[in-house]
């Protein structure tokens, strides 16, 4: 297996009839990296993951996962990866221990390793004293950690996680990401999709797809520099009134309430700070502070996807 890249695919495409779900996606994931794969619902994330896991044959393209050819060696790929979906494919009517035993069998974990792997999962998930509990009785966070443990019983070099934290509370989410960081530290490559943009920050590399096409790639900090807009935080006495005034002022592209402050999306922070300041002062609503803030990952995501949507609409019209 290539030591450098755990996943390396070129022009990966999948059509369903006339519909192109994934359109010439190329990506490389270094071994030991946490790679975040982001995109709106229906952008082609799950289709891509299913192709990388050997569950769905690409219509065209080429590449290797864990060193094996995605077009010809999908069965081998399946044995060398771990996969966990948002639905945590656990058996609710089995106990914690029975689920572990079941997946140990499915993944052909050698007998000699079984006891050790089971203890590892119970310990990692903090479920040692719940081993006899029915899985359905577990809270979301426990269930999620059990599903993660079951997905890596066979110690795969690559782990695919499809929205693993959907509907899980923040504390459990952070514990989950601690486990992911530990696995990556020991050399496991992690490929993950999420709708939680603050989680995207935990990844080493990110790729953003929309309408089946790759629209941006880079480290979290790099992506924040690619959006064309700036974000201003505006502190005022009467946020609602100011919100309404600014919306109709033509000075900002978008403005939203954030608690008791406002966030405005503008072309250029320098020019807009002065213009917005003057505008509000002129209406007796002077701001107590206007500062440029770093865009959040959500700002980046929404900006890039909306930009792409505009481009493809314009493209369709011309």
């Amino acid at each position: 297996m290539s030591p450098e890249y755990a996943v390396e695919v070129h022009d990966l495409t999948r059509k369903f009839g006339d519909f192109v779900a994934v359109d010439r996606v190329s990506l490389s994931v270094e071994t030991g990296q946490v790679f975040g794969f982001l995109g709106p619902n229906g952008a082609g994330k799950s289709t891509t993951i299913r192709m990388l896991c050997g569950l769905l044959l690409p219509s065209s393209g080429a590449g290797r996962v864990a060193g094996f050819d995605i077009m010809t060696e999908s069965e081998t790929i399946k044995r060398h990866i771990g996969y966990m979906s948002q639905k945590f494919s656990l058996y609710d009517d089995l106990s914690v221990e029975e689920n572990i035993d079941f997946f140990t069998g499915i993944y052909n974990v050698p007998r000699i390793r079984r006891r050790e792997r089971k203890d590892w999962v119970l310990d990692m998930a903090g479920l040692a004293d719940k081993r006899d509990n029915l899985t359905r009785s577990l809270a979301g966070g426990w269930k999620q950690r059990l599903a993660l443990g079951c997905a890596v019983l066979h110690e795969p070099p690559i782990l695919f996680l499809d929205e693993p934290t959907s509907g899980v509370d923040p504390l459990s989410r952070r514990q989950f990401w601690d486990l992911i960081a530990q696995m990556a530290q020991r050399g496991t490559t992690v490929f993950v999709t999420t709708h939680y943009m603050e989680e995207a920050e935990y990844c080493d590399e990110l790729a953003l797809i929309s309408r089946g096409r790759m629209i941006a790639k880079g480290k979290p900090a790099e992506l924040k520099t690619v959006i064309p807009e700036d974000i201003l935080e505006i502190r005022v006495e009467h946020p609602f009134e100011v919100l309404e005034q600014l919306e109709n002022s033509g000075l900002v592209k978008e403005v939203a309430l954030f608690g008791d402050t406002l966030h405005a999306v503008v072309e250029d922070a320098g020019a807009a700070t002065t213009a917005v300041g003057d505008f509000l002062a002129g209406r007796g609503l002077a701001a107590t502070g206007i500062t440029q803030v770093r865009p959040s990952m959500e700002d980046v995501f929404v900006s890039l996807v909306e930009l792409e949507d505009r481009r493809s609409t314009e493209g369709a019209q011309t």
Binding site: N41, G167, E198, L257, V302, V305
Partner: protein, 312 residues
């Protein structure tokens, strides 16, 4: 009309021996957007179901839109909307048929219906899909249709229970645009969420844990109220640094964030210890600064502390 949308005092609900919610005191002003956050099982849904008149309280008092939850549950139901996690859309009805169904259910006068329907469809960007069956909508569109249905009878107070679970960021932002439009009209919004970046958008946030409200304030004050500080460290080897610090300080306090290390510390002397740990591991600190915590940091701090106190 009073300025108070919700007044809650000593509210509690037991299921058998177990108190799902206990001793809840809370006041929400009209036109406010109040966010309720907490781990699974903290009592958020139970609270919401008591306030919407669906579930009887075991003890305590609450008035919602001026009516008592004990005596006037029906009057409350006419003045509020409740969008639960499994909001009832009819999959085999179209978008506009679903809206009409809810208009009938809430007895919206005929002459008001058409303009209201048009406005809600426009708001939610669903106008082009009005003839589509609800089951063929994407997750984000379904949520927006659910919200439109919940707004058809112009409620005074809107209750939303984790409305954006599993919804992508673009649809979530659309969803919030609709909420702002409602706020501007003076509607009060009471929303529970597992997304703390959404809680940042609320005028006040209540943190629930083990059936009690353990913190309640504006996002800004909640952040200022953290006893410690959040350090952001830049190192050449963020992963190794995380591992070294987690081994000594416990992994819940250290996280990787956009290639930086975030570390929560309550003790100024600990900053020295942190530098020593990193030095010992042969990791150079390139930059270090104190940053504003996020609501997630606030949440994790108080929930962890409350758990520790309960265990002690």
């Amino acid at each position: 009309m009073s300025d108070i949308a919700l007044a809650v005092s000593g509210l509690g609900r037991a299921f058998g021996e177990m108190w799902a919610v206990r001793g809840l005191d809370l006041e929400v002003q009209r036109g406010e957007i109040f966010g309720l956050v907490g781990p699974d099982g903290a009592g958020k849904t139970t609270t919401m179901r008591m306030l919407t008149g669906i579930l009887a309280a075991s003890e305590g008092q609450a008035t919602v839109a001026g009516f008592s939850i004990h005596d006037d549950a029906e009057a409350i139901k006419a003045r509020i909307s409740y969008m639960s996690q499994r909001f009832g859309l009819y999959g085999d009805l179209t978008v506009e048929e679903n809206l009409r169904f809810y208009a009938d259910l809430y007895e919206v006068p005929r002459r008001d219906r058409e303009p209201l329907e048009e406005k809600l469809l426009g708001f939610s960007n669903l106008t082009p899909f009005r003839k589509r069956q609800a089951r063929n909508l994407s997750g984000g569109m379904k949520q927006k249709l659910g919200l439109a249905c919940a707004l058809i009878h112009k409620p005074e107070i809107l209750f939303l229970d984790e409305p954006t679970n599993g919804v992508d960021p673009v649809s979530r932002r659309d969803f919030w645009r609709i909420l702002y439009a409602m706020l501007k009209k003076g509607v009060t919004i009471f929303v529970s969420t597992a997304y703390l970046d959404e809680a940042e958008r609320c005028s006040r946030v209540g943190l629930m844990h083990r059936g009690r409200l353990i913190r309640c304030d504006t996002p800004q004050k909640l952040k200022e109220g953290l006893p410690g500080q959040l350090l952001e460290l830049e190192t050449g080897q963020p992963r190794d640094a995380r591992e070294a610090l987690a081994a000594q300080l416990g992994s819940s306090r250290v996280s990787l964030f956009g290639g930086m290390l975030h570390l929560y510390t309550e003790d100024a002397a600990e900053a020295e210890q942190i530098r020593a740990i990193l030095q010992q591991a042969g990791i150079a600190v390139l930059a270090e600064k104190i940053i504003t915590p996020t609501l997630e940091d606030v949440f994790i701090h108080w929930v962890t502390r409350d758990d520790a106190e309960a265990a002690a």
